[in-house]
């Protein structure tokens, strides 16, 4: 057993941590949007994909410095978020009465409208740019190895770590230290109540989508440059993992989602090492089921009697 505990295992833990942070990046925006509307936004993976493409377009057309790419992508994400909210979510907020808010049919319709939007977006992108991977100028790839003795870290892993940390801290600051954050928390807690105390619920929801999608888009380009993969289907698989992480973390807890995402990433890397990649996915879903079995509301979920 001891001979497994070697430099390769440490490298494997690093790989897992990086993969977990990738899931965490997506899960942060995902969770934020879920929290405010109580609806799963299936198009988040597509925002992630579009963010990567927006970044690639900027690189190809303008070849700006890397930092400017991030800013451009952030702006694109902002716009995309507002658009997405307008097209897929706003139409279902015609009614603000209690019955409609609790109506399952309406909630599921919203969920499926985002799913339909995600299919349409993916297909349009495939028609427009083709289904294959895009080539990324070598200079922008975040694959420069950083050697730490026998270990190898990619520059992208450092950036992903920094981005995840920044996003997480900024979001905590925004949610708990600003007026906007207070309103967001109010809307996510009780939309009718928020309406009654004079919060413009529509504006808050749009702002949440803008912030969440900004984060989704930025993670798209960062991960795209780090893994060397930008293609129309890229949002699907990490999107599902982020979804799982969100649920494991308790649906509306951002720290919970981040921790669960990292746990998922580590588990996948380790089970690839000890079993095989094919079965590693089974292990992450098994983990999800066990979590739900023992913590029916997720690891960090609030105790709510009725949902």
């Amino acid at each position: 057993m001891l001979d497994f505990f070697d430099v390769f295992l440490v490298q494997q833990l690093l790989n897992g941590l990086a993969q977990g942070l990738v899931y965490a990046l997506i899960a942060i925006g995902f969770t934020l949007i879920f929290g405010v509307l109580n609806v799963v936004n299936f198009a988040h993976g597509e925002i992630y994909m579009l963010g990567a493409f927006a970044g690639l377009l900027a690189i190809q057309l303008l070849a700006p410095p890397a930092f400017a790419v991030l800013l451009l992508v952030a702006a694109a994400g902002l716009v995309l978020g507002v658009l997405l909210e307008r097209v897929a979510f706003r139409p279902f907020r015609r009614f603000n009465d209690e019955a409609s808010l609790k109506s399952k049919a309406l909630r599921e319709a919203t969920l499926l409208s985002s799913l339909a939007i995600s299919i349409i977006t993916r297909e349009l992108m495939q028609l427009y740019v083709g289904a294959d991977m895009q080539s990324i100028p070598q200079a922008y790839l975040l694959m420069t190895p950083i050697q730490l003795g026998p270990l190898s870290i990619a520059s992208g892993q450092v950036l992903i770590f920094v981005t995840a940390l920044l996003m997480f801290l900024l979001l905590q600051w925004l949610l708990f230290r600003t007026r906007l954050g207070l309103s967001i928390r109010a809307v996510s807690n009780n939309r009718l109540g928020a309406l009654h105390v004079g919060i413009n619920v529509n504006h808050i929801i749009i702002a949440t989508f803008a912030i969440g999608s900004l984060m989704g888009a930025v993670s798209g380009i960062v991960v795209g440059l780090y893994s060397g993969n930008i293609f129309p289907q890229m949002g699907f698989s990490p999107g599902i993992k982020a979804f799982v992480a969100m649920v494991m973390g308790g649906l509306d807890s951002i720290p919970g989602a981040v921790i669960s995402a990292i746990v998922l990433g580590l588990c996948e890397a380790l089970s690839t090492d000890f079993v095989s990649q094919g079965w590693s996915e089974l292990i992450s879903y098994g983990l999800l089921l066990i979590t739900l079995l023992y913590f029916p509301r997720g690891l960090f979920g609030k105790k709510v009697e009725r949902v």
Partner: protein, 304 residues
């Protein structure tokens, strides 16, 4: 009635493509109808229906190809295995509420897919199972007739379930679990029963699929398949049994009709789905109108 006319018409036309379309529509009709029972009527959002469908398909495919079991044996066995898995899922998740249940089923769905893909010694993994006997050696028309028969039986069972006091209890479960408990019914038990029945039918549909395609591989039971089934239910109208069948018809036949559109096909399907959700959120045949039609029918029967 309608099915008999359809069968005669297809038999007269005798085109293998039309047989194929008809059996595909029937299989997906069953899947949508069973998903409707779970998601629409009982309100348990399932994102892993393809798993139960896949387990059914693999059960019958393995039994038929490895042990030469007759379809009359493998069909019910496929249903039973899927029902067992469904019951187990429901038992494990009995304490979970809406989104958590949905994600748990998503997990089960992916777990089943990954198992089918990687358990090479048992399922032949990505190779799939190729040597499945046909449902009967008679003409394709007879085979289609058999599929129709199974469909009809399942439909009748579902109709009796949905439009009964038991169905009302399920609707109550959807709207408010605590109310159901207060009325002296056990929500956990109801959930397990619903999953067992729904998954049994999904398993049967899987077996029918295996027999009509005569080739199964893990790729047919991916997450996207679960989503398609859910979309059928939503397009038809959550909670409405005839709606679910209509939704299945629409989503299986539409892509075929649009085949000539080539590259734009999925785009058009996605847009139609979006249009439906946007402008007809209650579905083709809403639950309320479906129930009303059924009840007036019942009243007319009582009076005569």
């Amino acid at each position: 009635m309608l099915l008999a006319v359809l069968w005669l018409l297809l038999g007269w036309l005798d085109a293998s493509y039309l047989y194929r379309l008809a059996s595909m529509a029937l299989v997906f009709g069953l899947l949508a109808a069973s998903a409707n029972l779970i998601t629409g009527v009982a309100g348990m959002m399932t994102l892993g229906h393809a798993a139960f469908y896949g387990v059914g398909a693999y059960t019958s495919a393995l039994l038929s190809s490895q042990y030469q079991f007759s379809p009359w044996l493998t069909l019910p066995l496929a249903g039973v295995t899927a029902a067992l898995l469904g019951g187990l899922t429901a038992w494990l998740t009995r304490r979970l509420v809406n989104v958590h249940f949905a994600v748990a089923t998503l997990g089960i769905g992916q777990a089943v897919y990954v198992t089918l893909l990687n358990w090479v010694d048992f399922t032949r993994g990505p190779m799939g199972i190729t040597d499945i006997a046909p449902l009967s050696t008679a003409s394709p028309a007879i085979n289609l007739g058999l599929v129709m028969l199974v469909f009809l039986l399942c439909y009748l069972v579902l109709e009796r379930t949905v439009h009964s006091y038991y169905g009302n209890a399920l609707r109550a479960l959807r709207e408010d679990e605590q109310c159901v408990a207060a009325m002296g019914l056990d929500p956990a038990k109801l959930k397990i029963q619903v999953m067992v029945l729904g998954c049994f039918i999904a398993g049967l549909a899987g077996a029918l699929w295996a027999y009509s395609t005569r080739y199964v591989s893990p790729g047919d039971f991916r997450f996207s398949e679960s989503i398609t089934i859910l979309a059928m239910v939503v397009i038809g109208g959550l909670g409405s049994l005839p709606g679910a069948i209509m939704g299945a018809l629409l989503l299986t036949l539409l892509p075929e009709l649009l085949r000539s559109l080539g590259d734009y096909r999925m785009l058009v399907v996605g847009s139609i789905m979006f249009g439906f959700i946007m402008f007809l959120p209650k579905g083709l045949i809403g639950e309320y109108s479906a129930l009303r039609v059924f009840r007036s029918h019942l009243k007319a029967l009582e009076q005569s």
